[in-house]
Symmetry: C3
Subunit: 393 residues, 3 copies
Amino acid sequence: MTSGTVDVFAGVEHEVPSMLREALTGLELVDHHVHGTYADDITRNVFEQSINEGSPDPVPAFMSMFDSQLGFAIRRWVAPLLGLAPHASADQYWTRRASMSSQELDSLLLPAARVTGWIVDESIGLDALRSPGDLASASGADSNRLVRLERLAESVAAECADPAEFVDRVRAAVAAESADAAGFKSIAAYRCGLDIDWSRPSDDAVTAAVSAWLRTTPADRLRTVDPVIIAFLVHSAVDRGRPLQLHIGLGDRDLDLDRTNPLHLLPLLRSTAESGSAVMLLHCWPFHREAGYLAQAFDHVHFDIGLAINFVGAQSAQVVRESFEVAPFAKQLYSSDAYGLPELHLLGSVLWRRSMGLALGEWVRRGDWSADDAVRVAQMIGAENARRVYTLR
Amino acid sequence: MTSGTVDVFAGVEHEVPSMLREALTGLELVDHHVHGTYADDITRNVFEQSINEGSPDPVPAFMSMFDSQLGFAIRRWVAPLLGLAPHASADQYWTRRASMSSQELDSLLLPAARVTGWIVDESIGLDALRSPGDLASASGADSNRLVRLERLAESVAAECADPAEFVDRVRAAVAAESADAAGFKSIAAYRCGLDIDWSRPSDDAVTAAVSAWLRTTPADRLRTVDPVIIAFLVHSAVDRGRPLQLHIGLGDRDLDLDRTNPLHLLPLLRSTAESGSAVMLLHCWPFHREAGYLAQAFDHVHFDIGLAINFVGAQSAQVVRESFEVAPFAKQLYSSDAYGLPELHLLGSVLWRRSMGLALGEWVRRGDWSADDAVRVAQMIGAENARRVYTLR
Amino acid sequence: MTSGTVDVFAGVEHEVPSMLREALTGLELVDHHVHGTYADDITRNVFEQSINEGSPDPVPAFMSMFDSQLGFAIRRWVAPLLGLAPHASADQYWTRRASMSSQELDSLLLPAARVTGWIVDESIGLDALRSPGDLASASGADSNRLVRLERLAESVAAECADPAEFVDRVRAAVAAESADAAGFKSIAAYRCGLDIDWSRPSDDAVTAAVSAWLRTTPADRLRTVDPVIIAFLVHSAVDRGRPLQLHIGLGDRDLDLDRTNPLHLLPLLRSTAESGSAVMLLHCWPFHREAGYLAQAFDHVHFDIGLAINFVGAQSAQVVRESFEVAPFAKQLYSSDAYGLPELHLLGSVLWRRSMGLALGEWVRRGDWSADDAVRVAQMIGAENARRVYTLR
């Protein structure tokens, strides 16, 4: 079975002007935040868990995660690539999928995403996921690497004979990574929330926090949660001039969703406005309006609505429209935040193209926007903004 | 005058596929949170106040509450059942309505809601409202009863000779009620806000709180507001394995709307995730996206957008669409939260059917969803999920 | 070049019933919160900064603010009045605009807004902006004046020989202004956030705060930021019975957006519910649902979605729809909050008319609303509510 293509405007041809349809269909995307695909075959239970972002638990017996916007989107858009009818049942889908190896699925689905640049966060799921290089070779694309700051801190801390070494070692590690990584990422949202003191801590304050951390935690169980350490990491990354990605909003229940509102970042954004480093707000739902505001208010702030687009499925046209309120168009990027299932790498692309077509297409049909402008904006958000911010070729 | 029917898809036939129209028109709903209807005839002023959820005051002279989405929806959808033209004027509507007894109105409007199961909160308006049994017999439906925890606590407290009795007496009362009530309900949102310490208090802490309460309040004016007591009540209910309903969002200005955001419940939801009891988030507007997130993140969390659907009237299609973002479809339920006016029992049903048709119908027309799936999801949300959660016949 | 007109329903004629189109096209608006236009000619950089509400910085080289919803709306709707094609390029637009004087632009654009009453906040940009009288004469309309409380306090404080004079002098100044000003305005959102203690401070507390303020600040750099002083100002204004405007939501990054949520005002609104003064929540995006709730819950609360309508451009139809949820229709007003560029005075009107047509028109086409009601509601929000609240002729 060779890679197919998805007719992303099936059923909405009359709602999207043809020029915009063609441009969006052919557009080669940069997915500026993504993970690898599962290296091994998986069970149905793992599959269903993988389409629930919020819960770490097995799906309870009374329900199926296929009965969700994302589940319906998989049956609608991915089933035909597996030789099934659109809307094939969950059981039919699973049976067919289970008959294929993870390599076959990757080969079939990844190229159909038409992504020519993946920027990969490889710091979770190391054992379970393919590497960025695998992702790139399976899809015929380039890949770049993100460095997760909390993981870097844990590696450094585990090697520190003396807590006083931590500050300099982190700075050196960040400097070394900044030479070839596309950017840095922080999951402060998961570790301490975004409502922390974002001022730059003194070296002594960091050393004291690290001392307390190392004194109370075995070296093999180090987990960066101290807000002083996290603020230090973030400032250290921003100092290097590379883009800094921050997880915002939607995530598993390990985080407090209300503490991931990007407005908590105002002090950090004010203090880094002149740094020369871009700040990239990832995902953002249900705070995407707030994220768009920050992207207008600060020259260095950018955002995406990745992850959410997959999860809201047929409702993504509205979320896309809401991402087009106050943010300048140079400040929005595309990402899928796909993890594990190649369905997610593909659907991020399919649903983004379709929703962009519906949202921008309506404005073109009504005469609010010109078709030329709509195409240009799609290209900016789909690829050009990422190429500019990350200085990709 | 006998009960009529409402053509809920009038004017939008071309927007909703016929199969979905037929299924939604005929669907027998379970309204999982509702109150009784006014037993006595009412004045126009009471009527207009009854269509303002936020304010306890008489409607000021410079305006009419008929000039609102809900007022317009009453004139559009209920007027024809009273023999008037759609969009009859407010004065025409009131004149006709005032010529009918409350029993006549109930007989005319309640059956037209096509609700076959009412789960009734009978703990407010006891003197003014008909009982669940009356509601059921007027509409030819079954009814079940909810137990409001704050009221139960007030009854128990009034009978305690010694505050030390309170804890055991509450546990016994909750156990007794759980034998035949459909579930419990807390209005913590009104009494102390949802941003409290949700950990299970010790019996001693509860006894101390009750002592202070009884010492300072006459027995006939007891009102449960202490967060320690409310946390105790909620945990006592969850311990019994029955569904627990929590008021979220939209309510009268007696509550602080920002303190009713369901994200404040995260600690409670984490600590009760393994309890076996369902947690039902009621109403939720304008926090329905957050509620949907919690319904994805926690197996035991469910939600509805009742009350809001009535109040936003013609705008309900958007609110319905927003309830279809990240929540699995097994986790949403139907309710009207109607109180007093049988118009509200009816409109909850009419507007829900119509908005579901518009929202799901658009996805079907575009090919995002199959028509079969849309019908199945409507049945889940309209009745099946409630029958499963509340173990109704 | 004489003033032209804008065909605000171009491209959406079939979506808006003709009766509603005609009524909205001809409606003479009251813009209840607006500023003057630039007195002098401006540079392109100033122009682009003027269409970014959030940032005080020059637009960075990598982008243009023309690439935003507002920029696209200017090219779509204003370009034709300057003799260009709709969607003329940014460079074409700027070249043509730069060939005209600020007076010419005012004469061309202001009358096309069809505003017959401007209520002008003249307390910022005094040197750069034309006065309310100029605005009125350029557009053939009436104008009324708002008094900004923080500025009044700074003027009074600068003249106080003794801090103990402040309280009485402010009361006298507020009383004097209330004789002929349309209302008062507070920018507490910018100065201390809305999450302050809104109880009425004692005169002694105010005097103490003023003492500290005057002791630490030169008289020519006084800036009212103390929450005690601001609460005093607000209560002093409310005491006079005139409408009080409060900035809510969207504004430049000088404010903390999360501290401008109108729900922070609940204590103030409760304590002023019986004052007889109207409270006007301005702009409100992204908290317009919350503002609408307050407008239902409190008889004296009104709101608008001005400023946001301009900034969200083609997306304004959704924001308008969301302003029609729980608020009674007597409680919403029209404003542009235009500042500096006459494009903004015009676009506020164009986009409001168009979005109202799209939102209400859909409800009329579907039969949810009657066309008569839609026209009546448009008149209420466009002018009548403002005439009632501000007691304009």
